[in-house]
């Protein structure tokens, strides 16, 4: 599990993608795993056992459980592992960039600029 997810995160670096974990271990056990497996992605800590609030909220009964969400937070794939997970992410990333409006962040800005498409840049704030 870890090597594949590590490679996915590395491959998607600079793209509008995030892997978010929900971890059901004790904090000591998570910390050990993060270090040993060189895990860089962020996880919610779900209270230290499999009966945590987030697992209960999502009705999770088996681990790992995977949901893949698009950029609007809509569930698009469930239970995809390995190459299927990569394909799902690639598919949804394609839909992000197919849109006319891209929200660049400091991480993704350079990627969008290098996409060799005409861009109208709008620096804005919500006030």
């Amino acid at each position: 599990m870890y090597p594949h997810e590590r490679s996915l995160v590395a491959k998607m670096k600079g793209k509008p993608f995030a892997l978010i974990g929900i971890n059901s271990d004790s904090k000591e056990k998570v910390r050990a795993a993060l270090k040993r497996e060189n895990i860089t992605w962020r996880s919610f800590w779900d209270g230290g056992d499999t009966n945590g609030p987030i697992a209960n909220q999502y009705g999770v009964r088996g681990w790992p459980t995977i949901y893949v969400l698009d950029h609007e937070g809509i569930i698009r794939y469930k239970g995809v592992r390995g190459n299927a997970m990569d394909a799902a992410v690639e598919d949804l990333l394609g839909k992000v960039s197919a849109g006319n409006v891209i929200h660049a962040t400091s991480e993704t800005f350079a990627t969008h600029l290098n996409a060799e498409k005409p861009l109208l840049l709008d620096f804005y704030a919500d006030w």
């Binding site: 509008p16 993608f17 995030a18 978010i20 919610f44 893949v68 969400l69 919500d126």
Partner: protein, 133 residues
């Protein structure tokens, strides 16, 4: 009367109503006082004021959907400011099936820093329930 008068279009609608009041009310009253009323002269300003009022009333419904219902679904993809709009789009069901809006998750990371799933709106997200066993 619209339910909520105090929207962004208030100055515009207010100006319309003031204009309508001046044309509709003040001018015919002045003419009545002067005693120079004829059908042609009273009906014409009334028609103008009616048109102005119709114009004003058209302005208001046009304003409401722009500010209210135009959520993330009808706008261009990604046009959803992260953190600004934690509510899911109105016409998408919140749930756990494919096509549903994923329910909001709020919690803390391993270091006790609070964050939430909607912080990542605008990005493709893999949610991975995991444990080291």
């Amino acid at each position: 009367m619209p339910k909520n008068v105090w929207n962004a279009y208030f100055p515009l609608t207010f100006a319309c109503h003031v204009l309508a009041f001046r044309v509709n009310y003040r001018r015919p009253v002045l003419k009545l006082l002067k005693g120079s009323v004829s059908m042609k002269k009273t009906i014409f300003p009334s028609l103008i004021s009616l048109l102005i009022l119709v114009g004003c009333n058209n302005e208001e419904p046009a304003a409401t959907p722009q500010t209210g219902q135009d959520g993330a679904t009808t706008e261009a993809p990604g046009d959803d400011t992260p953190g600004d709009d934690p509510q899911p789009a109105n016409d998408v069901t919140v749930g756990f099936e494919i096509g549903n809006q994923a329910p909001e998750i709020t919690g803390e990371d391993i270091d006790g820093v609070a964050f939430k799933l909607s912080d990542y709106r605008g990005k493709v997200v893999v949610l991975d329930f995991w444990g080291d066993w």
